[in-house]
């Protein structure tokens, strides 16, 4: 399912240097409305850096960002949020001294001069129920939550804004089996509502399950675009660099052992 028309998000030649380190070089990327794009790559490939650029956390060193066809700059997170780009960061970015409701509504509280705690709590419960979250009390501080619960709070936060584009940096990394399925369902629901989704994951099964396109980054550069029907071998060699590597060696050992087992049977 590839959506047509102007992409929600379109990146041209995005580069990012941290001092002498080039975290990203000449990245090209499109995300359409109603499309889930998976961003995959090894550790340190620059995925989180790209997400942070799109969230307005880092400024790119070079390149252009177009959002809904218009060229934009994202000087700070507030700019990205007001455009309709919501982000679930890998390092979550929650305030541990605030309770769950306060974290979900942080920066977007209802009635700023006389906070409407009741309405916020109801809305928070609704959002979390959509995510089948198992959080006993929303009036406890976030410090008392497990990693998975925090992840759910962060995801609920990103949905609150009714964004046009959602960036999810390893959203299922801390989640259990059932909740992972719940989040994947949610990603599909969000896509079906016509939002663009950019998802980072190390889990190829999850990626294949929901992604419409798979964009591979390697050492800060584009290293191919795949579709969910691509073979594991193709994906892995794009991620790790074509040819011989630890993954292919393991796979090779495995297949020779399997075939030798087959012969003896």
């Amino acid at each position: 399912m590839t959506a047509q028309g102007t992409p929600v998000l379109s990146l041209h030649g995005i580069s990012k240097h941290f001092g002498a380190v080039s975290a990203l070089t000449d990245i090209e990327l499109d995300v359409h409305a109603g499309e889930v794009v998976a961003l995959v790559g090894d550790n340190g490939a620059g995925k989180s850096t790209l997400v942070k650029i799109l969230a307005g956390v880092h400024a790119p060193s070079a390149g252009r960002i177009a959002f809904q066809g218009r060229e934009v700059t994202l000087p700070d997170p507030a700019a990205a949020l007001s455009l309709g780009i919501a982000t679930v960061f890998q390092d979550l970015a929650l305030c541990e001294n605030l309770d769950v409701v306060a974290n979900i509504f942080l920066g977007r509280e209802l009635s700023p001069y006389a906070l409407d705690e009741v309405a916020m709590e109801i809305k928070a419960w609704t959002l979390l129920q959509e995510l089948s979250a198992r959080i006993p009390s929303l009036r406890e501080t976030v410090a008392s939550l497990s990693g998975g619960q925090r992840q759910t709070v962060a995801i609920a936060r990103s949905l609150l804004l009714e964004p046009k584009l959602i960036l999810l940096d390893e959203p299922t990394a801390a989640l259990g089996v059932a909740q992972t399925a719940e989040v994947l369902d949610l990603i599909e629901r969000v896509r079906d509502r016509g939002l663009g989704v950019l998802m980072i994951s190390h889990n190829m099964e999850d990626v294949r399950a929901v992604a419409d396109r798979i964009v591979v980054l390697r050492l800060g550069r584009n290293n191919g675009i795949f579709y969910p029907d691509a073979s594991n071998h193709e994906l892995v060699s794009a991620i790790t660099g074509a040819g011989e590597n630890a993954v292919s060696r393991r796979a090779a050992r495995r297949s020779t052992r399997d075939s030798s087992l087959g012969e003896t049977a």
């Binding site: 929650l94 942080l106 920066g107 009741v118 959080i135």
Partner: protein, 411 residues
């Protein structure tokens, strides 16, 4: 009514805590996990009062309590500013100097230049705001630690104060003027004081009752009417008893009412507005607040400016109390008393945690120590040592509570 139907009580892991017994259990649970609130300072205050009362029976006499609260009001207001700045995890070491500078400016403009007093007060407060803006600029623009910039400010602003006062070194404010009356002889008429106490209790009840009703309508757990009524009655009785006691002395100082009004106002701003939420968020996790789209610099600026403005208001009030603007105003222990009060009252030095009432409780503790030792005719050397020890205890309690919160998942 089955608790199971409530949205926020649905999880079976929640210990159901209903009624008054449940509320007490929940409170004990909170305390045990390091969420101490005002408990340590109230216990400390009771101990301090018992000790001084047993040493000198004048200590708890109405007239001494009136004086004690009168004196608390000026530095208490300065301490409110410290609460603001500590909440974002920064510090202002120059509040004493700023208060002294504000009182000097007031004296010069009002007495020496003949400008109407309210204009002079506004000018003094604006001067405080400008100083706060400057600290915020240094912090936001150059990342200058507030510890250093305000230490420099302490000296620079003290210099300004001395410069303004010039040769004479001291300006007497006219006796009989409304401002000096506020600082020395204005008391709330007894009937009005009782009425204010009752109104406070009623307002508290009305607000909590409305919230409870809305929560119940929304199918959320809400406090039962018993608890709401009980709490409102207890608070009203305590307030009325205090008014009664003070009225046996000179009465309720108007300046105390001004201070209390500022406490309530700041408490509202910190707990019930978007700004207050942002202040706590910035103090708790600056980067998370930034990523939530909060303009972090503006929040820091507001905290620095508010802190200096409260310091200036405190300076105006203390010059009214002393009927003079002198070179000594704001020097000595004003600075540390104001900072110690906020911390003793329970506002954390680590940011993101605290409340406006800590300034009130903390300053009463400090003034109680000071007043008790004065009654015993003990020198200020002992006063410094004891206040220092209390501050150290407060910081230890703060650190231990923080550690306990971390291990109980409430950091």
């Amino acid at each position: 009514m089955g608790d199971a139907k409530l949205v926020d009580r649905a999880d079976e892991r929640l210990k159901s805590a209903a009624g008054i017994g449940g509320a007490i259990l929940a409170f004990l649970d909170r305390v045990r996990s390091g969420d101490l609130g005002s408990l340590p300072v109230i216990i400390g205050l009771i101990i301090i009062c018992s000790v001084f009362q047993s040493l000198n029976t004048v200590f708890l006499s109405p007239s001494n309590i009136v004086n004690l609260l009168y004196d608390s009001s000026t530095i208490g207001v300065i301490s409110l500013g410290i609460v603001c700045i500590l909440m974002v995890g920064e510090i202002d070491l120059s509040v004493g100097s700023v208060s002294g500078f504000a009182s000097a400016l007031l004296g010069v403009l009002w007495v020496n230049t003949g400008i109407p007093v309210f204009l002079a007060i506004i000018a003094a407060i604006l001067a405080g705001a400008v100083i706060g803006l400057f600290y915020a600029f240094l912090f936001n623009r150059f990342g200058m630690p507030s510890f250093v910039s305000t230490l420099a400010g302490l000296l620079a602003v003290l210099g300004l104060q001395l410069y303004l006062l010039g040769e004479s070194g001291s300006i007497n404010l006219p006796y009989g003027s409304p401002l000096v009356n506020l600082g020395q002889s204005l008391f709330v008429p007894p009937a009005l004081a009782y009425l204010l106490g009752a109104l406070a209790g009623l307002a508290l009840f009305w607000r909590s009752w409305r919230t409870a009703a809305r929560r119940r309508n929304a199918n959320l757990s809400a406090q039962s009417l018993h608890i709401l009524v009980g709490r409102a009655i207890v608070i009203t009785v305590v307030l009325e008893a205090a008014v009664f006691y003070l009225n046996r002395g000179r009465g309720v100082p108007l300046m105390l009412v001004v201070f209390l009004a500022l406490v309530v106002l700041l408490d509202y701003a910190l707990t019930r507005t978007q700004w207050g939420r942002a202040v706590k968020a910035v103090g708790g996790n600056r980067e998370a607040a930034r990523r939530a789209g909060i303009n972090v610099r503006r929040i820091y600026t507001s905290a620095f400016v508010l802190c200096a403005v409260f310091a200036a208001i405190g300076g105006v009030l203390s010059s009214a109390r002393l009927a003079s603007a002198s070179q000594q105003a704001g020097t000595g222990d004003v600075n540390l008393d104001a900072i110690a009060a906020a911390v003793i009252g329970g506002t954390s030095l680590f940011g993101g945690r605290g409340n406006a009432y800590s300034a009130l409780l903390g300053i009463i503790v400090i003034q109680a120590i000071s007043s008790g030792l004065t009654l015993l005719d003990l020198s200020s050397s002992l006063r410094y040592m004891i206040t220092g020890a209390v501050l150290a205890i407060a910081v230890i309690v703060d650190s231990l509570a923080r550690r306990s919160r971390v291990s109980h998942g409430r950091a």
